[in-house]
Symmetry: C2
Subunit: 303 residues, 2 copies
């Protein structure tokens, strides 16, 4: 990325993830909270899914943060479902998704019920988001980098409407609630991204020496044990694993517990890999997606 | 209560409180889990709100566990909202609410996101539920007694369709999820209630010596700071209070934190009382009811 001219800070992409909702609301009512942090760029605020915010639900008709693939945006007929319509509207305002987008950077604030701290999700190896996020892992003791590479036009996330994006996942926080400590840490984190964007525009961030970072790269999602697709789940996250996001899970470790009290062990990957690092463990919103956790691989890189 | 002839164990009165849902499902599929525990009574299992269970939501149209007051049940026209119809149906099957009810005891299993352990909610000073619950506070180190007295015909809870009831609130568990340790403890607890009902029917439970119990009696619900009814909340639970259910809150203690980082202190009660014991702190389902927590008073009684 060259200069960052336009930044969007969004909350309420999922309506019951209140940290972002309340942060955007606070900043809309008090622009002095943010307007001096990155004077070299235009900073806009948005409630991405106001209808879901009103309902205090993740979404009304469809998960909007799965509606931004180029295919979804390109469908010719006007969609029936609210979130598809709103996704197109956001794409008109802040996009259009692709090389001609009006927006350089989207910071999209989410919550997770999983024990993930301040999780910085990068969808691409963009120089600014990598360097800034690396800096933030030095400044915040519970900041983590989750790299989820995906072909940008196929990616369904709101952030991919911009040239670069960070999906900021804050947890653990129960959906529909607020945690004051997490709110305050999130506000500090988002402010730092804006300051670092300014540092980038001055050409200084690029000059910082390389920073060693632990990178958790998406491997695959893991579902709950079920007899067949759509059947009720037959086991729960194992108590020994609950809350242990980013920790190594080795072949033979306890993975699930059945309702009869039997342990189900992790058997390793089909390709012979024997260690993974689970995240999004027991995330409430992912039960309907049949995701018990996302498995990542950990590496150390210089960013 | 004299003999306990009919017991109903219910789950899914709120559809996204999965401990009870999965317990009832497990027992329906494996009657040997429970059928020998209380041979002196008929034990029935029910998914109280199957439509909400299907949706994995608290309710579809209306909170069903606020639909069992005599006034709600007596409305002459057939209600439009699903939960009012289902409440009437449950009342026909297990009631009718009042002295002629077919059901002696309802054990209704719920979850809360608050840090409430195994909370045994008693709605009346019924001899069996008092004695059995007192025994369980001795057997389970995180069992608590919450006494919420209310005129029975006015009470809106499903359990009040029976002569006696315990609303079993298990937490902390995020709505829509499962926690294996809590599931296993809940199953043990419900089994013990059935065994104690059998002990009661043999006339033995009554002969146990009095047990000292800490009783948390409902004083009032406390809302979030707001400019006016229906306005967005203006503060969060204070970080020092979060998760501290059943602990004493004294006049001058920190209660809320505003989005600007200011502390709001507890000012005591209007009648001069200077200590309360909050529970249901930050319960997700109570944001829409504008309940930040329930304030109780603590006493020690011999049960």
């Amino acid at each position: 990325m060259s200069l960052i001219d336009n930044i969007v800070v969004s909350g309420g992409t999922h309506g019951n993830e209140r940290t972002g909702v309340c942060l955007v609301k606070k900043w809309m009512e008090n622009p002095t909270c943010y307007e001096s942090l990155c004077k070299s760029a235009r900073v806009e605020l948005v409630f991405a899914n106001p209808e879901a915010v009103r309902l205090n639900r993740r979404y009304r008709d469809f998960d909007m943060n799965r509606a931004f693939s180029q295919t979804c945006l390109d469908v010719s007929a006007e969609p029936q479902q609210y979130e598809f319509r709103r996704a197109r509207e956001l794409n008109r305002i802040y996009g259009p998704k692709g090389p001609d987008t009006k927006t350089d950077l989207i910071l999209d604030v989410h919550n997770t019920g999983s024990n993930m701290g301040l999780c910085l999700i990068l969808s691409a190896r963009d120089p600014f988001t990598m360097k800034a996020s690396a800096v933030l892992t030095q400044e915040f003791d519970d900041a983590w980098i989750y790299y989820q590479p995906e072909e940008r036009s196929a990616s369904p996330y709101f952030g991919t409407v911009a040239k670069a994006d960070v999906c900021i996942e804050i947890g653990p926080q129960q959906h529909g609630t607020l945690d004051a400590r997490l709110f305050e840490r999130t506000e500090k984190l988002v402010k730092r991204y804006l300051e670092l964007a300014d540092e980038w525009n001055r050409g200084e961030l690029q000059k910082r020496p390389p920073i060693p970072v632990k990178v958790y790269t998406q491997l695959r999602d893991l579902g709950y044990p079920k007899a067949w697709t759509g059947a009720p789940i037959e086991a729960m996250i194992h108590p020994d694993l609950l809350g242990r996001d980013y920790r190594e899970l080795r072949k033979g470790d306890k993975l699930f517990r059945t309702f009869d009290g039997k342990d189900i062990l992790y058997e390793g990957e089909a390709d012979g890999r024997e260690s993974v690092w689970p995240i999004f463990i027991n995330e409430p919103a992912y039960y309907e997606k049949d995701i018990a956790m996302s498995l990542t691989v950990k590496s150390v890189e210089m960013w």
